[in-house]
Symmetry: C2
Subunit: 492 residues, 2 copies
């Protein structure tokens, strides 16, 4: 067994990095900033994908696939968007290697094989998709277009961390086209809601829905909706965004339609995405010093059975009981694994499943067989109890629900305890230095104040909460009048 994780109290960042690798979720690769998502990590991502995909389809969206590359001339067509990504994009300039005349056995870029126009590896696909939509939309009958794509994207980030910020990441990007502004705004709101529902219900992470300020908005958007979550170290994490793009892309790519009156008008757009970054949120919200803690909804194995035996005879008897548990639980759509590897001792198996966050562990030994019981251990609370075999199935069903709910409750309590209303800049700074978390404060609505606060404290405006009430107040920094509180935090 590898030695214990660094504790969160000792070094939160180190704890996270160690956990991701030791729990077999992901690792760094030979390509700077690009990760390998390992089978166990990928199995969690697949469960997230499956749920999201179902929710997208239930809300009328269809999947499609668009090219990995964006020609430079398309990339730069929507200026704000291009500017937003120009500083961190991977660029394909050549299409052939040749033998290196100076280094036998080595290859080099063939200078003759230069592309006429450079290709940008998509950092996001608005440009290539809106260039395609032009051919798909003639009249209002062709609208709305409700498209989603599951894809890899590349942003050449300089400082990377597994799942949280990587040069290549996996995501889904929704791109929709509408006849009216109102419909597009509703779509952007709907999808932000879908994200909130998914993250709260399946990932057991409470989120605040809100709007981004102008400076934090997606490049090319008129309005960015977001869901913001709070991690255990008191830093916020943007878990998903949904953009109302106005007619910016339609104008840049000349996507017009004939409305019911036969008049030509530009189409209204949205885009929305969540990524493998959600894996980072999942890990940082629930896990502890012993390793990963997974909500049952997303655990590749919800239950694991470990046999404890000295003789072949014991193992056979235990296997018989395990098989019956397996078939009972599978009949209830509970994922369960019988860990009967002969290469590992029970202690090592316990440690591995604890590290990998399996919600429930059943241990069966010879004495259990005699008593008609098993030992049931719960990962989130680290508690154990002896359960009679005849009530096991029901117990497990109840516990899985309970774990899902109590993880959400625990995270909600943490988030609520770490959301502080402040009315002075001194109090603002004190919160950041002591308890951290979200700070709810009045802001005068200007970029200058936002920038100044960021410069002084590193805290940014995470969002203007959608459920915030109108309330007369004064800006915590400038003292100018303000009509509502916004949420500040240091963020990932």
């Amino acid at each position: 067994m590898s030695k214990k994780l660094t504790s969160r109290a000792e070094d939160y960042s180190k704890w996270y990095n160690e956990l991701v690798v030791k729990a077999d979720l992901a690792e760094n690769s030979a390509v700077r900033g690009c990760m390998v998502i390992k089978p166990y990590g990928y199995a969690i991502w697949e469960k997230m994908q499956a749920e999201l995909d179902k929710m997208f389809k239930e809300t009328g969206h269809q999947n499609a696939y668009f090219p990995l590359f964006v020609p430079k001339s398309l990339f730069e067509a929507e200026e704000k968007n291009a500017e937003g990504f120009a500083k961190e994009c991977a660029i394909v300039t050549h299409y052939r290697l040749q033998n290196d005349p100076d280094k036998p056995g080595k290859l080099r870029v063939d200078p003759e094989a230069k592309l006429e126009e450079e290709l940008i590896v998509r950092p996001t696909s608005e440009a290539i998709i809106w260039n395609t939509f032009r051919g798909w939309v003639q009249s209002y009958r062709d609208l709305p277009l409700l498209i989603n794509q599951w894809a890899n994207v590349v942003r050449w980030e300089m400082r990377t961390r597994l799942f949280l910020r990587t040069a290549e990441f996996l995501w889904q990007e929704g791109h929709t086209a509408h006849a009216t502004k109102e419909e597009a705004i509703s779509e952007a709101e709907l999808m932000n809601n879908v994200y909130a529902t998914f993250v709260e219900k399946f990932m057991a992470i409470p989120v605040v829905q809100g709007l981004k300020t102008e400076s934090e908005r997606f490049a090319g958007a008129d309005e960015t909706y977001c869901i913001e979550a709070l991690m255990q170290d008191g830093k916020a994490l943007q878990a998903g965004t949904s953009h109302f793009l106005g007619q910016n892309f339609a104008k840049a790519f000349d996507v017009k339609f004939a409305n019911k009156e036969g008049k030509q008008d530009y189409v209204w757009a949205t885009s929305w995405g969540v990524s493998t970054r959600l894996m980072g949120a999942l890990i940082m919200t629930h896990s502890d010093d012993f390793g990963l803690v997974l909500p049952p909804s997303l655990a590749p194995n919800q239950v694991v059975i470990v046999p404890i035996y000295k003789s072949e005879e014991d193992l056979n008897a235990i296997t018989e009981v395990a098989d019956s548990i397996l078939s009972d639980l599978r009949a209830k759509n509970i994922t369960v694994k019988f860990d009967n590897r002969t290469t590992h001792r029970p202690g090592a198996k316990f440690a591995q499943h604890e590290l990998q966050g399996v919600p429930l562990r059943i241990a069966i030994g010879a004495r259990d067989l005699a008593n008609g019981t098993v030992e049931l251990a719960r990962r989130d609370t680290l508690t154990k109890e002896v359960v009679p075999l005849d009530s096991l199935n029901e117990k497990i069903e109840t516990l899985l629900k309970d774990i899902q709910e109590s993880l959400f409750k625990k995270a909600s309590d943490f988030r609520n305890e770490h959301t502080t209303e402040v009315d002075t800049f001194d109090a603002f700074k004190t919160v950041l230095e002591t308890k951290t978390g979200f700070i709810s404060a009045h802001w005068d609505g200007t970029n200058e104040t936002e920038d100044k606060i960021k410069e002084l404290t590193k805290a940014t405006i995470r969002c203007i909460p959608l459920d915030g009430k109108e309330e007369e107040g004064v800006c915590v920094y400038s003292g100018k009048p303000s009509k509502r509180r916004v949420l500040f935090a240091k963020a990932y």
Copy 2:
């Protein structure tokens, strides 16, 4: 309605290109050689993915994800493989754009942002994966590694065609590592079998399983297994390959393990893949001059219901019947769509569903309601019949099975009729000029003869069939002795 397709007899290639676009499967993009897979085409691909993924998991494989980029030094580590792909790879050389000082509002590659080492966009992932496997394998206990990846890959092909040959395509690539040669060979055979089962059972396309000759083998493989299908124009299409890679990649990337005796040995490897090229095979095997014909197993909608009405009242009555059919069929896991669009007339709907290959179409009019019947049309045979409502569900279930089977039978009959044994080179050439298809002939086993035949006839050896019998003969070209027949054909 758009005008009719070019017929297959008139111009097969044009028929294919038109069909792919008109049936809303895919289209060309602004990026040379890269396609857009449209929602209807992607829905078919998703069904294929789902079935294959299930089969991979049932055979013990796990999904993972590896970087899009391969550093040049890793790419060239396995020489044959590097050589095989060097001539057609997209190369990232820079990571930033900047404002073009000569052209206001335009961007250019920032010459300061040159990568230290060029990155190849993966044409296949052996290099990056085996470089990763080195860290995953220490002892025989870590083996086998049974990994699959769903991904996009790029091969800078000069002549491209939608689905059949595109610069970027989607695929899955399996990569496995084993302790023994025998186990790796079994794995390569098993996965070729999985492909054959999938293609025959779900795609309703008969295939020949075989081995590739040395010159047609995957670069870096010791042996390539393949499945070969025959298209309606008599050309063969390689539908999937499974490679036994020997220890070539293990040696290139130094992947060793301690065997049970504690001795260090290189790991044995396989890789296997199928791609969106299968979409091309699916289209070309079954479709006709009226459009796409889909096997029910892969049809996004197996049944479509079209209402025929003059009054609102009729529509309401039809809708009631349709709703009951919908819920009955869905209860049987049959995918069905009620096409109640008010923007299109029934004739246009009929034409669209025919073009898009929906296996069964139900039309319901006012007279049908009075008679308690519907009109049921079958896409593959273009036959119609009147069916009483009370036997409709059963009828549909039977027909869907029948369509699946009869498409396979039709394609098998065609393949068998277009497989010709020849014993002279004159006969060989005559077959290619007249009936085309597979030619079963003796070959002397040399590269020279293979090359010469290709040069003279454009036919290549598609495979050495696995089920071929030993049979004394003489090479159809050189007259030298041969022990078994191989399959020649012109190919995609």
